[in-house]
Amino acid sequence: MTIVRPRTLDEAISALGDHPDAHVLHGGTDLMVEVNFAKTRPVDVVSLRRIAELRRWHVDDSTREIVVGAGVRWSDLEREPLRSLSPALAQAARTVGSPQIRAAGTIGGNLGTCSPAGDGLPVLSALDAIVVLRNRDGQREIPFHSFMTGPKRSVRKHDEIIVAVRWQPTGGFEGYAKIGVRNAMVIAVASVCLVHDPRAGEIRVALGAVGPTIIRARTAEAWLRERCDLRDLTTIGDDLSREFGARVRAEANAIDDHRSTRSYRHHGVGVLATRLLDRARKVTT
């Protein structure tokens, strides 16, 4: 075997089960960079591009959950009807690479690569999304916060295929903000997703590119929940919003590298958290 091009999920799972060391290929926007720069020399490849089931999405009739197949591309996520169903994921999708990258790259690939700077990942974290994995033994569903274990590391086993990701929309504000050196074609220096759940009375915040995994700022979330009734954000004033940003910043754990410094990244997530909370306050009023 070298490359298998299955048309069904069962065929893909079977091929991957036979060759657990095979590379899983979908949009190619991560794997081919590695191959072009001789960091990876693929011997066996299982391509998921022809599996129609992975390209589909739907809203579950009974649970109202949004279920997005792993093969749904950024270019689908940034456009209607998905844009209105998931504004934060659409905002994140719009910041991924270029139109050419977004026409190829998939949400499943973002999860498969599992980079701390992956644009979709803070959104899935703040949405409390669940990742659906399948192999020959069956299916398991892992909350995103247990899925990612380190930079480019996850609990996905080698013979498992990421099938879909699903979450319950809150009906409240959700937004994504990202810092890079320019507006187009950048990898995040720091990113934040903020989701308001008006029914549960909570604000959920996830940070990208400021730690080995996506970081949920749970201490800051709890601090804010103790200060005010988050079913209604109009009671939040400017001072509280600024302090919230400072508390989010305290939960970052970034490194200095070629893309930015630890201190700038920490500053950045604090500013973005305040900015997103201010947007959420305006939407509510």
Binding site: T2, T29, M32, V33, V35, N36, R41, V45, S98, P99
Partner: protein, 167 residues
């Protein structure tokens, strides 16, 4: 080279091309240029940053450097060579020449493919939509002003052609 040699067919610009003895990791960019004799698609960054290798795959504009060629079987690939008959110019190519949107020319084929994709999917794009559509194509010569001018010209000519067709 690791692994077994690959043998597969690619459908490029309407014709079927046999690829033999290829390495699995070869990109579509490499196969187009080095195996199929189609050098119009340019290669520079090989990581999807520059857009000079933009081709159409089943109607989507993508970077050929990020497509595994062996995975592009049963897809319809269109390169810049496939946009018009040899020695003739497309409307977009003509407007690039007229506006002075070509200097060193290295980015031009990728831009031409991206602009065709834009005007074929969005016949009357706004300024922002034009900028967004070619945001993945880097040009180091022109400063983009004349490229934007060329896209506007091609847009207006197509709008005029459609208006004449409706009369």
């Amino acid at each position: 080279m690791s692994g077994e040699p690959e043998f597969y067919d690619l459908r490029v610009n309407g014709a079927t091309h046999a690829v033999s003895d290829a390495w699995l990791g070869e990109s579509l960019l490499y196969v187009l240029r080095e195996r199929l004799g189609l050098p119009g698609t340019k290669g520079a960054c090989e990581q999807g940053e520059c857009g000079s290798c933009t081709v159409l795959i089943d109607g989507d504009a993508v970077c050929a450097c990020l497509v595994m060629a062996a995975d592009a079987v049963d897809a319809n690939v269109t390169t810049v060579e496939g946009l018009s008959a040899p020695t003739t110019l497309t409307d977009v190519q003509a407007s690039f020449l007229a506006a002075g949107g070509v200097q060193c020319g290295f980015c031009t084929p990728g831009l031409v493919v991206a602009v065709h994709h834009l005007l074929d999917t969005n016949p009357n794009p706004s300024e922002n939509e034009i900028r967004e559509a070619i945001s993945g194509n880097i040009c180091r010569c022109t400063g983009y002003g004349r490229i934007f001018e060329a896209v506007r010209t091609a847009r207006e000519e197509r709008v005029a052609v459609r208006a004449r067709g409706q009369k």
